[in-house]
């Protein structure tokens, strides 16, 4: 193998839990590494940790992207809104949004020469889902933050985009199941791949597309990668 050809030309930071191979952050990181991108994994959306991760990545190759694929801790199975107490609401909504805000801010401060920020959110906010009102609120708030950042940072050469996925992909295995019928009447929520290797991984594919050089001038968009369960007008 030609060592020159194999050397990474750019780096990325992926923020999110690394507990299992199914974690969104693990899958995105794996997909990037397979394409010769230098990846620094940051387990928590802590501003100092993300900044340190960005610095570490930049030492190995020019930093070009930060991916936020964080799993909120409060996500469980479907819960009726009236049965969700204040702390449950805060764990899902406030934690998700604040985590996204932290990554956005740290990324902005680290992407000195432009780049891309990618936020992974649940798709439930786009059309709603029974039992997931809080997650819908969180997802839509995160998407609006991404769009706001896209508008504000356009002149700095930083694009901000979103990948919206089936909520089952954002919870530890066994804790989530999408049972809400889609608008077309079909049951939503194809099971994500067991470990993201082989097979189809819509999240990873969508992430690679939006992180590619071809998408450098694309900003403020949401790419829905949930196997076709959600199709917007």
């Amino acid at each position: 193998m030609n060592a020159e050809a194999a050397r990474p030309t750019w780096s990325a930071v992926v923020v999110g839990g690394q507990d299992t191979p199914r974690c969104p952050a693990v899958r995105v990181a794996r997909a990037l590494r397979l394409r010769q991108v230098e990846v620094e994994a940051v387990g928590r959306p802590d501003e100092d940790e993300v900044a340190a991760g960005c610095a570490a990545a930049a030492r190995r190759a020019p930093l070009r992207a930060v991916v936020h694929a964080h799993l909120p801790s409060g996500v469980t199975g479907p819960t009726a809104l009236v049965d969700l107490d204040d702390s449950g609401w805060a764990r899902i909504v406030d934690e998700s949004v604040l985590a996204t805000l932290t990554t956005l801010q740290a990324a902005r401060r680290s992407l000195d020469h432009g780049g891309t920020v990618l936020i992974v959110v649940p798709a439930v906010g786009l059309v709603g889902a029974v039992g997931h009102v809080a997650m819908a609120a969180a997802g839509e708030a995160q998407r609006a933050l991404a769009k706001s950042a896209a508008r504000a940072w356009r002149s700095a050469g930083i694009s901000v985009n979103v990948v919206a996925v089936d909520p089952a992909e954002l919870a530890p295995q066994g804790q989530m199941a999408t049972v809400e019928p889609t608008p077309s009447g079909q049951l939503a929520g194809t099971a994500p791949p067991a470990n993201g290797t082989g097979g189809v991984d819509g999240l990873a594919d969508a992430a690679l597309l939006l992180l590619s050089a071809d998408a450098a001038r694309t900003t403020g968009v949401t790419l829905v990668a949930d196997g076709g369960a959600t199709m917007l007008p």
């Binding site: 956005l104 933050l145 769009k147």
Partner: protein, 257 residues
Amino acid sequence: MTLARPLAGHTVLVTGAGGGVGRGLALALAGAGAAVVVAARRHDTGVSVAAEIERRGGTALPVGCDVTDADQVVGAVDAAVASFGALDHVVHNAASGRSSVVTDLLDVDRSAWQDHAGVALTALHRLARAAWPHLVKARGSLLVLTSPAGVEGSATLPLYAAVKAGQRGVVKALAREWGPAGVRVNGLAPLAMSPALENAYRENRELEARLAAITPLGRIGDPEEDIGPVAVFLCGAGAQYVTGQTIVASGGRFTAL
């Protein structure tokens, strides 16, 4: 109920009703025949709106309600039911006093988020929980005052945009959740005069003309005359098959929704 008074016999709780859009909604809903619970953080402003409703021949109850206080939210709902025997509709209009304060996304912190989210989202959650048993009984509705900023994002009002977007997520999901019980949930995104916009006009005399020029209908909406009727429609029988939607009343300013 008549065509002229489609909400006769209904009870509506309006938060943030002491001024601006909330005041306009309260007046319009009362004009449509509803008994209106005028919930306002500053009780004196709610008293003033309720007095105006009564002066016009309507029925109103002013209630001091800081929506960031869980007990006051429950208290407002209880006051509605105690006074009028039922609660048919809740209109959540209250917003953070910092909604129109220009902010750099890099400068916002947890307290800034809580300031916005406490009024727009956490309060909405509490309001929904408190009102639920009454709305089910009435087969009523929940109406959330959101904003086009929630769809488009905003470089200058990022947290306002985020909470307004979050409200739209609630509208869609809760509409699906409450639909089987006959309770509708909708959003209303207005472009209307408000105290904040009036302040902005005073600081920038060209702003009013500039906004009017980019609004197809050539003016900013009046809370009572332009936004109120939409709220009346969404609460009334005319919208009995409408749920999970956000209706934009912006004079055509925002069409990407």
